[in-house]
């Protein structure tokens, strides 16, 4: 394994991609504020959570370079998402049916 180690990671994301992602994030923020303004019921919140997840995904994969990382990192991210979902679901089994 030692021989397989690379000293450092020289792959760099192009500045164009970074700028594009940045603008997309700003636009999504605008969208989410707009939705909250026009949509006053609970659906608006759900849509905004989904938009937030898209934004988080952009940050993770582009800014945090997850697209370059090994499969392991993505699997762990999945593990965390599953863990949080499981905690939420099991707690709501109590809260909703109490």
């Amino acid at each position: 394994m030692l021989s397989m180690k690379q000293k450092e990671d020289t792959r760099s994301t192009g500045n164009g991609t970074l700028i594009f992602t940045w603008i997309a994030l700003l636009l999504l923020t605008g969208l989410t504020v707009w939705i909250a303004g026009v949509n006053t019921d609970r659906h608006g919140v759900a849509v905004n959570i989904i938009i937030a997840s898209v934004k988080a995904g952009l940050v993770l994969f582009v800014f945090m370079r997850l697209k370059y990382e090994s499969l392991f990192f993505r699997l762990i991210l999945l593990l965390i998402v599953i863990t949080l979902t499981a905690i939420m679901a099991l707690t709501f089994l109590d809260v909703l049916y109490r």
Partner: protein, 201 residues
């Protein structure tokens, strides 16, 4: 006393950082769980209180924090190309935006505290239960987030010095990379906090 052979590399350090960030996600996850339960139980109070928050400052802070995340990513991309000068500038901008974020947070908090709204205040305790919990969650969640921002700024200032004295350079950028990873996580936490706290109505 011989110096130990270097047996670890940047990928190890990055894996450690990611694992740490995953623990941070679960740390915030505990608060989101509380939020989920109480917002289900007191949905009307939560919407009502949410509309009392300053949405302009909230949106502004979201936009600048995203921008700071962008400049942090840019800084890393520049240093990998060997452009140390522009990497330093990007990093400096990131830290500055962090400070602006905290100043806005301070203004926002002082306004609320000025109205007598803070956890444990007599004024707040007389309000509906859902409002008490919403404002407590608001102060605790944004407070813990702001603490993370503060740590991030301190780390960036240290890294700026390291860039200057050559500890961090194009072929040894892991410290900058890990600091940026941490900053992006702080950004992601805010990306979720923003709609949950400010945009509920």
């Amino acid at each position: 006393m011989q110096a130990l052979v270097k047996y670890t590399d940047d990928v190890d350090a990055k894996m450690g950082m990611w694992l740490f960030l995953f623990t941070e996600m679960l740390f915030f996850g505990g608060m989101f769980l509380l939020y989920a339960v109480y917002s289900t139980k007191y949905s009307a109070d939560f919407s009502g209180s949410s509309s009392e928050l300053n949405r302009v400052i909230g949106t502004f802070n979201t936009l600048i924090l995203i921008t700071s995340s962008f400049t942090a990513a840019l800084s890393l991309s520049e240093i990998k190309k060997g452009a140390l000068q522009s990497a330093s500038i990007c990093l400096g901008i990131t830290a500055l935006i962090g400070i602006v974020f905290l100043i806005m947070k301070y203004i926002e908090w002082s306004a609320k505290i000025g109205h007598g709204i803070y956890p444990g205040s007599a004024y707040l305790n007389e309000m509906a239960h859902g409002k008490v919990l919403f404002y407590s969650l608001y102060f605790v969640m944004t407070g813990i987030h702001a603490f993370h921002v503060l740590i991030g700024i301190a780390v960036f200032i240290v890294i700026l010095f390291m860039l200057r004295n050559g500890t961090v350079r194009e072929n040894n950028s892991i410290k900058l990379e890990n600091a940026a990873l941490y900053w992006h996580f702080v950004d992601i936490a805010w990306i979720y906090l923003f709609p949950l706290l400010y945009l509920l109505r």
